[in-house]
Symmetry: D3
Subunit: 243 residues, 6 copies
């Protein structure tokens, strides 16, 4: 019998590390096969440090970004990382690119999906990625798309935490305790040589999210002693047998 | 060791039946002790049929409503039903009434709470009840309120489905399969002699919510075969170990 | 057979003039009996010009404001204007005051009601008046409130245009052509001796609202030639036989 | 003199039946010429039952869906039904397809238009259709588009009820009594052989919307005795001569 | 040393006049170099008066609109006005057009940018322009776009006031006193020969915005005596050294 | 000539430290007289550590909290700190208490005010304080309240950052660089002996807000090198002479 699986759709090749590295490593540790799709390398827009080097080229930036992402993926026990190399700033996806993403969704058959916030005025690639994620989730559910393939069920789409959180209309409804895998997330973060200014930033985010985990699991009466956590917003309602 | 418990805060004495009767009976069947607090009988505002009878008095309406609610509670295996008799249309609660509710919250120590939507222009008692529920939840968490008592943890407050759903800004994020206890909910509904016009209405709501349960548990690929369901909106984020 | 009727609930004694004077005069001209309830005179908060006069007293301000409002009401063919004299800044209504308002609502049996926007951070009396209007509308519908009286049906509550419109979250869904009664509205406006700085302001509002009337009745193809209009936001859905 | 007219823009060929079949039949009975544009057949995404048959092809699905839609249109007394066959999952419209829709809008000169909710994370084709409907309404109003043609006025765009209503941010502001034509809507619904699981679902929706019609037309005092109704959300404000 | 600069992105060639003509002239008077980009002439959708003339052609409309816009720009002391001539109704921008706008943004290095509201169901070109403005602002910030060019900092994007203000979800957070340059704005307005029906409309808007300026600068205690003002909504937070 | 001044309205006696201690110290360093009003001590709800001590009494808690707050105020160079001792959990203010707050507002004549977010389901005292702050700001502006006193102008009301930021619907539009006074804020924080678990939490908040300050002042091009910052949301629009 195959493992449970999850799918991360990342606009640029570093996004999955900061925003849901803990969720990836934690679910990997529980036996999930986690696949990450990097739609672009963030080669034009999110590689400032590389571009400041003498004689830098687009290909060299992409290579460097790919190595960093692969290293981070390894640190997080990612099952498979795919680079779509669609270009960034702006990211654009035609019908062919969307269907390639549908193929991955169907192959993975994820229990849940992860992508960006639905609004981001600083980085329109992010919200575009989520728009496409919803579109491709829909296509993957259609019986008439590549008839004969196994259609997708109804996995949750979780929106991971954006940068400059409050500007994005993002409201977390789920906090995940990532304390057991924090070392892996920090190791993955440190693979991002080009964005060292964010290492401590996202460590602080994780520590403060743990405070929220404790408050929401116990109020003033205590609560679970999480030390690091990540927050997520759900697009779809849950179906449960117990409240 | 004591049972798990849940607490329903109902503005009027019939609200808990239509809106979360299934959740009550289902959790009772799982061993929860479910307590229901009826802040008023809905004697002035929600008892039109009784008032149309010759010679009706306020006390007679209240008695009739209490009997109906007690019968419904019995049908749903409610552990305890309390009538605060605070008056309705409008419902008003002073500090003393609030502290009486805090006493119940602390005594019950609910795993989760249930109350009305946060907006209801048709029935301001409903949104007032929720406002007070949040206020009393806060007080129950305070170490300085009746020091020495066990303080409340951080139970979720679920908002059950209002009438005229879409007008209330209510968006369900959780669907509960109540198929196993549907007969109990229907029996409780039929205890509401004064509101027979709503029996089939809420049966249809439950059937359509089951469609949503199926869609969200399986998309076009099928999904769990719920026949009756209820929807709920969460106020607070969840804390989890798996997405 | 009695006339159709409408009810305006005005936090302060001048509000009805600026915000729905046209609607009042227009419906009066169609045979409606329009009743205006002024919950306060706006004597403390909206009478700056009077208070700048030497030796002014609270009673003198209230008298002056009442005279102005009565004159404006006459200019608008108001059927009945009632002064509740509940005080302003802040306006507060206890159960007795609310039931007095319920009495008026039931006596008038309005086809529609008019009050303030639901949000106003500049003037909390305004949003409080609307909150109470909804609460009293509910009580007036209850069969157990003063049993034997005729209960209220389901009149629309229209929110008239606030000052500093865009700050209030107010979005008009209905534009009313008040061209035929503009002279009456302007005359009523000029009764407000203490707020002369607003005469032209609200004339300009009416002219620009007429532009919106034309655009929404005809687009670039023309549209109805309204010269003055007022905008309103509905709280409740309409029930119709034709779209 | 020509009849009044209305235009329905339906992303997939069955949408118009569930969501506004009553409005169509009712207005047809009042003498409106109602045109329906099906942008796609929903052949890939909304035809699961057909695709489960052995040897099914895209063309066969489209044919079957067209026949169903034509039968339903006939049952509803649709004046004209047009199939744009633009493909679904995802639906995409280039400038040429948009201008083809503009041509229809101008030819019909509708008194009002009907389309989907502005948000639908389950089905991005739906919200895309509405986005294009607004865009094409704008183009149809422009004097410089095919100069010499009669430009469009300012018809309302009503958003009909989506599936999983509350997830879509859809709030109905208009309820239409479709009791007189219910039999026609049910007959049209039963033309949808491939989606039999939705027949009773949408019957229950219509019955519960009738409850809302009654409540909003009469409160606890009664109200119009609608048995079946449909709800709609308006994009644009109304222009009226009486509130 | 070069002047400070600002950049206006206008969907059609007249938008900048009505919506931010005062801001342009005022900043020009303070020494700013203000550049205006007209993405289209509004030749198809916003030139009704011209199209009603016998024998009008698209090129003739565009020429007339360009002359009007150039005259208005001169009246406002615009530093540079660029016509992208991308077509309107609908406005569409491919990657090349976007990069051309990025080139302008980088060349101008604006202290702040101005564009349309983020929502406009009447005119989808307007909201599309703002969407592209955000996208191009992002690209202009990317170190990998045309490496070697000076990258953009973080200028505010102000949304200027739309027509039919309240329908657009636009909420001004900044009022600018344009009294000193009102004559220039009125002169620019009067260059718009084809839209004379809007001259007084926007004069009234400016006068009423001045009322809001006074109220927000002084409450009932007075406030700055602005006679004409414009309102703007900010997309991004401010960074300050004093509240 | 008197100094400029600012006023902080704090529901409980520690709130001003975590949420705007930097703003207080910074403005004090610029010569502002900053007054802090603590409506309650947070003695019942926010003093868990004290209540866990043997034999604790309400008076002892209040005394301890007052000493902590006074020490923190001193560390921040607060000009005046006032304790209204109105009780907490829930905080309630009658007309007399409100007028006492109005007296302070008028005496201080603040250039700007600071209070809590408008929504907080965890702590209803917080949102109640803001509601009252708006109400009292309005009263303080009224010429008829204590005629002869100097009426209030139109100071901004800034909402400081709540705990569990994203749950509150709070969106900062203003970031203040508090680097020069960080040592004072940290010293004030360390006065809060009963809430040591929050010291590092709010240090991390300040560090991450500094990241936002840098990003919004310079994008990827750099930006001001703030190390600590605080965020604020404005209720009212600004009135400016330059964008």
């Amino acid at each position: 019998m195959s493992n449970k699986s999850a799918l991360v759709i990342s606009a640029h090749s570093a996004d999955f590390v900061w925003r849901c590295g803990g969720a990836i490593a934690l679910h990997a540790s529980m036996g999930y096969d986690v696949t990450v799709v990097c739609l672009s390398y963030g080669e034009r827009g999110e590689s400032a440090k590389l571009w400041k080097q003498e004689g830098m080229t687009l290909e060299a930036v992409k290579s460097a970004r790919q190595v960093e992402a692969e290293n981070a993926a390894k640190a997080l026990d990612v099952h498979d990382i795919k680079f779509f190399d669609l270009g960034d700033y702006p990211l654009e996806m035609d019908r062919e690119a969307k269907f390639k993403l549908v193929d991955v969704i169907r192959a993975v058959q994820p229990s849940f999906m992860l992508s960006h916030s639905t609004y981001d005025p600083y980085n329109t690639d992010h919200m575009y990625a989520t728009q496409v994620a919803l579109e491709c989730r829909m296509v993957a559910q259609g019986w008439g798309h590549n008839p004969g393939e196994k259609v997708l069920g109804a996995p949750q789409l979780y929106l991971f935490e954006p940068h400059q959180t409050e500007q994005m209309g993002w409201k977390p409804d789920t906090f995940l305790d990532i304390t057991p895998v924090w070392d892996k997330k920090r190791a993955a973060i440190e693979c991002m040589q080009g964005q060292e200014h964010l290492w401590d930033y996202y460590t602080r985010v994780a520590e403060n999210r743990a405070n929220h985990f404790r408050r929401n699991s116990g109020g003033q009466a205590g609560g679970r002693k999480a030390e690091y956590a990540e927050g997520f917003q759900s697009i779809f309602p849950r179906t449960v047998d117990e409240l």
